[in-house]
């Protein structure tokens, strides 16, 4: 090959000026044969791992059962190692799967169209805010304080870059958005968009009522629904039903491994009005030269590879494979499976609520909830969580981390994977650590 190229050695291909030569040997991990590398990484994995603790952790990442057929299908080499489907004729499989994903998201959210995925729920919210700003020409955004704190923080990161201000609508004492104050804020200031999350970070149903929606319309702001627990879409009235025009969400619950935070899969769904502002790829159905049904990436003129600095977003790589996983999950579960799982989640969270109440720990809110709830342990949540940890239980999230007024509160999730035994274990432990006089 060197002869064909007309050179004497590999070095001739890799010449660099002196100032760019390596000055020291590289310091990277050592090379290991496959069986040793497996052992090494598996050993690292087992180091001080909380994976076997009884877990009530939620807060935007949920333990749900992924049917085995998902990985059997999604990990097929054709799917796993394919590139973005720009050459449509050899990518019909993936393109159709994404068309199905787009369809499922629309059916679940009540929207007209959905994109091929964005990175996650937090960036979906940030991108939706940008859509709203493009739609209205306004530079101020309103978000409920009950939206996931990480989502709000990411929104702020993105908005700082665009010199956009964010106002936060406060909470009621019952863990929902204060719609009356929201309406007042909407009377005062022109907003690009208003975002509420339902179920919200506390697990509570939290939507606009008729009066609040009216205020949003009068203001001219775009109402945006945020979804962090996608399974809730199978049970609860759609965001469309309470007036959302854009839905920004996270679909990790649909079979995507919890995997220490990623990769997950965000989605943006919207009404037809915002079609040309939506970021990310879109798959459309069309025909080929012989009239056969065919799928293709479409409306690409919105995207970075065509519009460059005038693109609706800089997004290139998305979360396609995770969207495929979610699509297969939805196909396997179907209407009946999803209803059943959602019902189980409702059942388990109520079982949890009853068990903790019987253990003498009160629920902090009375608002209706899906599969997460908040308990008030009457002392710094961190202390109680530490005591639970010693008993092999990850009891939930210390809300004081984000909401100083809820420093004695714990956010707990119960899903179809939570067993009655685990709930009983938690309740017993809670009773023990929170009894009057218990020195935790």
């Amino acid at each position: 090959m060197l002869e064909a190229i007309g050179i004497g050695s590999l070095d001739e291909l890799l010449r660099v000026p002196d100032e760019l030569k390596l000055r020291a040997p590289l310091d990277v991990v050592p090379a290991l044969p496959e069986y040793q590398l497996r052992r090494r990484i598996e050993q690292i994995a087992k180091r001080d791992s909380g994976v076997d603790y009884v877990s009530f952790l939620g807060g935007g990442a949920y333990r749900h059962y992924a049917p085995s057929a998902i990985s059997a299908l999604a990990m097929r080499g054709e799917f796993l190692t394919a590139y973005t489907p720009y050459q449509a004729e050899v990518s019909q499989g993936y393109l159709q799967a994404i068309y199905e994903w787009q369809t499922y998201i629309c059916l679940l959210t009540g929207m007209d169209l959905a994109d091929a995925s964005v990175y996650d729920g937090a960036t979906a919210l940030a991108e939706s805010a940008i859509m709203a700003m493009n739609a209205t020409g306004r530079q101020r955004f309103l978000v409920s304080r009950a939206v996931h704190p990480n989502y709000r923080a990411v929104l702020k990161t993105y908005c700082d870059g665009l010199d956009v201000a964010i106002d936060e609508a406060p909470l009621t004492d019952d863990g929902t958005t204060d719609l009356r104050v929201l309406a007042e804020m909407l009377r005062e200031t022109q907003y690009a968009g208003v975002a509420l999350q339902s179920p919200n970070f506390f697990g509570n149903i939290d939507t606009l009522d008729g009066e609040a929606l009216e205020s949003v319309h009068k203001n001219g702001a775009v109402p945006i629904g945020v979804v962090a627990e996608a399974l809730a879409l199978a049970a609860l009235a759609t965001p469309a039903s309470w007036g959302a025009q854009i839905v920004a969400g996270e679909a990790q619950s649909f079979g995507v491994p919890i995997a220490y935070g990623g990769p997950y899969v965000g989605f943006i769904a919207t009404t037809n009005e915002h079609m040309r502002r939506i970021p990310g790829r879109l798959v459309g159905k069309t025909v080929d030269s012989a009239g056969r049904t065919a799928y293709v990436l479409t409306l690409q003129a919105r995207e970075q590879h065509i519009r460059r600095e005038r693109a609706t977003s800089n997004i290139c790589t998305n979360q396609a494979h995770c969207a495929l996983i979610a699509t297969i999950y939805l196909a396997l579960m179907g209407k009946t499976g999803l209803r059943d799982v959602a019902a189980l989640n409702l059942e388990r969270s109520r079982e949890l609520a009853t068990a903790v109440a019987n253990a003498g720990v009160r629920l902090r809110f009375s608002a209706p909830f899906f599969n997460e709830l908040v308990v008030d342990v009457g002392r710094p949540a961190g202390e109680v969580l530490a005591a639970l940890r010693e008993r092999g239980i990850l009891g939930g999230l210390d809300l004081g981390r984000w909401y100083p007024e809820y420093s004695t509160c714990i956010l707990m999730a119960a899903t179809e994977l939570t067993t009655s035994g685990e709930i009983a274990k938690l309740a017993a432990a809670l009773q023990e650590v929170t009894r009057v006089g218990a020195g935790v």
């Binding site: 060197l2 291909l13 660099v16 760019l20 030569k21 040997p25 310091d27 990277v28 590398l37 090494r40 690292i44 087992k46 180091r47 001080d48 791992s49 909380g50 994976v51 990442a61 049917p67 057929a69 799917f79 190692t81 394919a82 590139y83 973005t84 004729e89 050899v90 990518s91 019909q92 499989g93 068309y99 629309c106 679940l108 169209l113 995925s117 990175y119 990411v154 700082d160 010199d163 199978a234 609860l236 491994p257 220490y260 935070g261 990623g262 990769p263 997950y264 459309g284 159905k285 293709v296 005038r310 800089n314 997004i315 290139c316 979360q319 494979h321 297969i328 209407k335 209706p368 990850l394």
Partner: protein, 452 residues
């Protein structure tokens, strides 16, 4: 639950597992992946994705670990993140890497936000220009626009490079960042990168390295030594993370020492032999995503590093460059290569002359390759080469594969001269022929609707 909270209907189909398995198995058979055939997409580095990486990403302690698990019960995951970061720092000459960004484009955005914040703190808010060469990938200017920067496009010189003299005419007190890649998107090494970096730094700006082409220089030279202050990697290119039909990718963001404090949160910190997530970083631009990283891909990348070590990675780049040059000289025998000199890991060819003579364009060549069992190269990018084909073989392909592709391409060029219609009709062996994209855009059908 109160009235109206629950939904009435859920218009989704019910399917049996068998029907679902058949459906998606068949869809996979209508999808072309690296596992199926040669994928010489320039700028994408479609190298083999080792299966051991997937096995390790699927290990229980990783796949089932909740991101809110307390740090002292996530030590394994944190160690994986730390080891990867330290290796990247040495490989590329950076002081620190954030593993947060979900993709290269998101890393670009984060880097530009860092630059914006850095200049704001120094009272230099007049710096609102980002310089990109005209060969830049579309995400570069798009990311700049998402941060409120204005984009200045720099014309490449006759040799396809950025001319330091040209740089000097555009840098000034309003320069924030110059975004480049090296080798550039033509596959050519920018030998004068150090001069370019000096010019930008003298004007008070920062240098950003688009790491899409990192496969060309491991063990040979480092962006940090070239003078770059910020950079990203596309681990779904250089480090074998599967492309998965368009994602999920992963875009680690590297910075020089003076910018470490600005990295997104959280950052993995080591204290003795323990690790933790550090959120207490007052100068950080903030978080860029819901949780901490595309962690399953961090595992895959680390597994790849362990499979290779420093010596292995050096060979990776050497063979990537060897394969590209071999193909370049072979392709040059029958197709115009506008830059007939030693390239790095990719090269460009142009069908402009062919189009003039026969009417056959880059697009038609691409479609004809599909009929011969190959994925087409990247076409119509970079924008400065008319009827461009950008070819990147990667190091994981054998000489036999490369020779087969070259023979197919040669045959196509011959056919262009003798029977061009055959190419204009291609592909004919695929499950569908050329797709009516105009109709797709004019009459958007983006989802199925249930019958009323």
């Amino acid at each position: 639950m109160p009235e109206g909270v629950l939904r009435d209907d859920l218009p989704l189909p019910d399917n049996t597992e068998l029907d679902v398995v058949r459906h998606y198995t068949r869809l996979s058979q209508r999808t072309f992946g690296i596992d199926v055939g040669f994928y010489p997409l320039g700028s994408c580095t479609m190298k083999h994705n080792p299966k051991v990486n997937d096995a390790l990403a699927g290990v229980r302690e990783f796949a089932e670990l909740h991101p809110f698990t307390p740090d002292d019960l996530s030590q394994g995951a944190l160690q994986v993140m730390y080891e990867l970061e330290r290796s990247f720092c040495s490989l590329f000459g950076m002081a620190a890497f954030s593993l947060n960004p979900a993709a290269g484009a998101q890393a670009e955005l984060a880097a530009l936000l860092i630059a914006k914040k850095y200049f704001r703190e120094r009272g230099e808010t007049q710096r609102d220009k980002v310089i990109v060469p005209d060969t830049a990938h579309g995400t570069n200017p798009a990311s700049a626009a998402m941060c409120g920067f204005k984009v200045i496009s720099l014309k490449s010189d006759a040799r396809g490079r950025v001319d330091p003299a040209e740089i000097r005419t555009v840098v000034g007190p309003d320069t924030a960042v110059c975004m480049m890649t090296n080798p550039n998107t033509l596959g050519l090494f920018e030998e004068r990168i150090h001069e370019i970096a000096d010019a930008v730094h003298e004007a008070g700006g920062l240098m950003y390295y688009d790491g899409a082409n990192a496969n060309a220089l491991m063990g040979n030279t480092r962006p940090g030594d070239m003078g770059f202050d910020l950079m990203h990697l596309n681990t779904h290119k250089t480090f074998t993370i599967p492309h998965g039909g368009g994602g999920a990718g992963h875009g680690p963001l590297g910075v020089a020492g003076h910018l470490v404090e600005y990295l997104p949160t959280p950052y993995v910190v080591r204290e003795g032999d323990r690790f933790r997530l550090d959120f207490d970083r007052p100068k950080s631009i903030g978080p860029v995503r819901s949780f901490w990283s595309n962690f399953a891909h961090v595992v895959r990348a680390l597994a790849y590093l362990y499979a290779n070590g420093a010596e292995g990675l050096t060979k990776v780049s050497q063979y990537a460059v060897l394969n590209a040059n071999y193909m370049r000289v072979k392709v040059a025998e029958f197709l115009e290569t506008p830059y007939p000199e030693i390239c790095r890991h990719e090269f460009v060819a142009s069908a402009q002359q062919l189009k003039k003579e026969t009417g056959v364009r880059a697009l038609d060549i691409a479609k004809a390759l599909l009929d011969r069992g190959y994925m087409a190269p990247t076409i119509y990018f970079p924008l400065i080469v008319p009827e461009c084909l950008m070819i990147e073989p990667t190091e994981t392909e054998s000489k036999e594969t490369l020779d087969g592709f070259v023979a197919a391409l040669r045959d196509i060029i011959e056919t262009a001269k003798t029977n061009p219609q055959e190419l204009l009709d291609a592909p004919v062996t695929t499950v569908v022929g050329r797709v009516d994209e105009t109709r797709a855009a004019r009459q958007p059908d983006l989802r199925w609707r249930p019958p009323r």
